[in-house]
Symmetry: C2
Subunit: 226 residues, 2 copies
Amino acid sequence: MIKAVFFDMDDTLYDTSGFAAIARRAAVKSMVNNGLKCTEKEGYEYLMDIVKEKGSNYDKHFNVLTKEVNGTDDPLIVVSGIITYHNTKFSMFKLEPECFSTLLYLKTQDYKIGLITNGKELKQWEKLVRLGLYPFFDQVITSESVNIEKPDPEIFRIAMARLNVSSETSLMVGNSFETDILGACKAGIQSMIINSKLTEEQKNIIKDNKYQVTELSSLIDLMDIL
Amino acid sequence: MIKAVFFDMDDTLYDTSGFAAIARRAAVKSMVNNGLKCTEKEGYEYLMDIVKEKGSNYDKHFNVLTKEVNGTDDPLIVVSGIITYHNTKFSMFKLEPECFSTLLYLKTQDYKIGLITNGKELKQWEKLVRLGLYPFFDQVITSESVNIEKPDPEIFRIAMARLNVSSETSLMVGNSFETDILGACKAGIQSMIINSKLTEEQKNIIKDNKYQVTELSSLIDLMDIL
């Protein structure tokens, strides 16, 4: 009998990658309009290379892009990118209806709900607050706050201890096989993968984890049989 | 004959302090609503002490406030402050009509226009872009970009060199006696103080600087006699 459901956030509860891609395209468009010497397509490709190299938490992507393309980091071009990126991202920060209704359902059924997310404490909390998601969660565990990242099973153990539940009564829901599913598996927790498909090889690795849902709302139907 | 007009930005071209005060009050209100254990009035006073102590460019005012008041820096309270502060500030970022018309007048009369501002390069540029001000300026000099702050006369000399004008044909407009007026004076530049009143003692110090305007638009009338 499942008592607690743990969620990953990015690309599980909302389309982080999709939002970021649109916001980055908008940013590059604005930068090209303000003097970045390349096409929008080239600029976006360069930017994605920089994001890949520096990581998504690096805070000077637009400086590096401007410097690489133009030779100098003209502040007008850099801030045009920053402002457009943030304006676009914030204007898109809306919770999908199916996410809201799924969390609401779990809440009304008295499940405990936890969030286990890799990322910076305040950056992840900002998303929770802007999305209006945080009141659903009994516990929020960010990797920065506990200094352990998924897939380390320890972060799942910390989460279970905080909600006072065991691995037998817990379920993990996430989009990444490597971090969410394997991590939960190592901690002995049943898991569901969402927005992603498992390969045959992956299915073999986690034989006991038979649930794969393509939409978050399917979780409601599955909860009845768990 | 004046050929170039140099402006300070904060509290000269727009009401930086007024905007910041409103945004900080809004932030504290949101923090109290989310669990900051004090009244809004107390919270605002604590916050202003922290801003005074750490400086306005410090980026963890809300963390310190939460920690001081509640004992821990609860991320929900911190990000509530940050989000409300930014939302409020950005929604107020509008140029006053008199600022726009004054700059437009100078532009149509073929004056060169420069900005000399103490602050961080990207932070100051962000304001210029959000306000839609930057197209008016032939040169923007931030203290961070040249590593010299007003009232050091050297920053005024750099600005004049960039616009290819002399101190005799330049005018500085700012709100601060200490940084704008005294600095310009040391560089041999005529200046106008705005949004502020000079004391008798200050008037004595800058005997040659006879222009004191209370509104930016008055500058238009004064330009005819310079």
